[in-house]
């Protein structure tokens, strides 16, 4: 009996010792691989910095003709890291290089990898590379990938590439709820004014979250009042959209767009039946500081909702239709203005 117990204990100790050896060897192997990777990155870093940072069309010789997958992987990682910080000619030059030398294709293949972290990294890499031809693959990932993190990474990457054709895919992802609205909004802002035609269509979408994102993005985009279509679309949203948040977002956007028509639309929205929209309209009037809103702002000083009266007071003081006396909100607005609030 005692011998059997001793044998059992000994075998358990042997198993534990074997496990310890395996784990130690594994840790050593991982540390060695990490060291090797860092050495590779250090070896190619200067060449990549030189290629990204200078105006030469020809890449340094050390970046061409790489033989091993490890070398190519290290250079691909460095190219993505450094290209992600630049725009203009440098970015275009690197995009051409990664296309010609197969780095973009490798990242596109990784978009179909089994592990989600690898797919996500591939999406980020493609966004950093800025290769327009990769946008279709990113749009597929945005639409079809099972992992929400990969879809987010794909949405951000599309914005980084800045290809307007992908705007519809971003809006569609927003409509389906497959990517958070804030991520889509940032990607659309990254694409910039070229996304405007799709955004104007999205303001009339049947999906509330799409209309909301579209209004906010159009407002943040900073398109001028010269874009009559923009003001008309926002005007319609501010006055007729069935959703309160969308009407409010449209008012804010009109305040940023500016111009006579925007001012008239904002003035009309100060009479909305929802207090939050009236407040948004008064905030927009303060931003516009246009005389066309003066009468509406003056009426809003007597609004039934205190927050609307507060917003109206700010607009009224800025417009010069009221001085800092007569109500606590006007005094507050006057004091804020004196402190440089605008």
């Amino acid at each position: 009996m005692i011998v059997a117990v001793e044998l059992l204990a000994a075998s358990q100790l042997a198993v534990i010792a074997a496990l310890a050896v395996v784990l130690t060897c594994r840790r050593i192997a991982i540390a060695r691989a990490g060291r090797h990777r860092r050495l590779l990155l250090d070896r190619y870093r200067d060449a990549v910095v030189e290629f990204v940072g200078l105006d030469d069309d020809e890449p340094p010789a050390s970046l061409t003709g790489l033989r091993t997958a490890e070398q190519r992987s290290a250079v691909g990682e460095l190219l993505a890291e450094y290209t992600g910080t630049v725009r203009g000619e440098s970015r275009s030059r690197v995009a051409a290089f990664v296309t010609e030398h197969g780095y973009a294709a490798a990242a596109e293949r990784d978009l179909r990898a089994r592990r989600s972290w690898r797919r996500g990294t591939a999406a980020k890499t493609l966004g950093d590379f800025g290769v327009v031809a990769s946008v279709d693959e990113l749009a597929d990932a945005l639409r079809l990938d099972a992992s929400p993190q990969v879809r987010v990474s794909a949405a951000r990457a599309i914005g980084r590439v800045g290809e307007a054709q992908a705007t519809a895919d971003l809006i569609s992802a927003c409509a389906m709820g497959s990517v958070p609205a804030g991520i889509v909004a940032q990607a659309l802002l990254d694409i910039g004014e070229e996304a405007l035609p799709w955004l104007l269509g999205a303001i009339g979408s049947p999906e509330q979250r799409v209309r909301l994102v579209a209004c906010r993005v159009v407002g943040l985009m900073g398109v001028g009042a010269a874009e009559a279509e923009v003001v008309a679309a926002l005007d319609t949203a501010a006055t007729t959209d069935p959703d309160v948040a969308v009407r409010g977002a449209a008012c804010h956007a009109l305040g940023r767009v500016g111009g006579l028509d925007a001012a008239l639309a904002v003035a009309a929205s100060t009479a909305d039946h929802e207090a939050s929209v009236r407040r948004a309209a008064c905030d927009a009037a303060a931003r516009l500081a246009a005389p066309e809103t003066a009468a509406a702002v003056t009426r809003a000083l007597d609004d039934s909702d205190p927050e609307v009266r507060r917003a109206a007071a700010r607009a009224a003081v800025l417009l010069g239709v009221a001085d800092g006396s007569g109500s606590p909100f006007l005094e507050e607005a006057e004091a804020e203005l004196a402190w440089g609030w605008r």
Partner: protein
Amino acid sequence: MESVHAKVLVADDEPHLLRLVKFRLEREGYEVLTAVDGESALQVARDEHPDLCVLDVMMPKRSGFDVLREIRSDDACAGMKVIMLTARAQDRDVDVGFSLGADDYITKPFSPQELRVRIGAHLSKR
């Protein structure tokens, strides 16, 4: 040759960007000093008196705007050119930068060529 003698401080907490800008400016013949946070940027600006500073806005310890404010209020740093290089691209941020006394404002991602040209233009006005 303006660039041969000019001293430029680049302050940014992003190592990739810092390395890229340093490399580019050194190739142009500038003497480049670097800092990875606002406090050390201010220290370098006061100790080394660079001709021009390239400042990120969002940095550890002190923001680029704080550093700019200190530089502008320090007589020893009079005449120092300052370019903000930042991801903060809102009109309001640009307003703040210029109102604090920045000579230029460049948004990230940036064009290395554009940065080189703007630095050259500001230094030639000294």
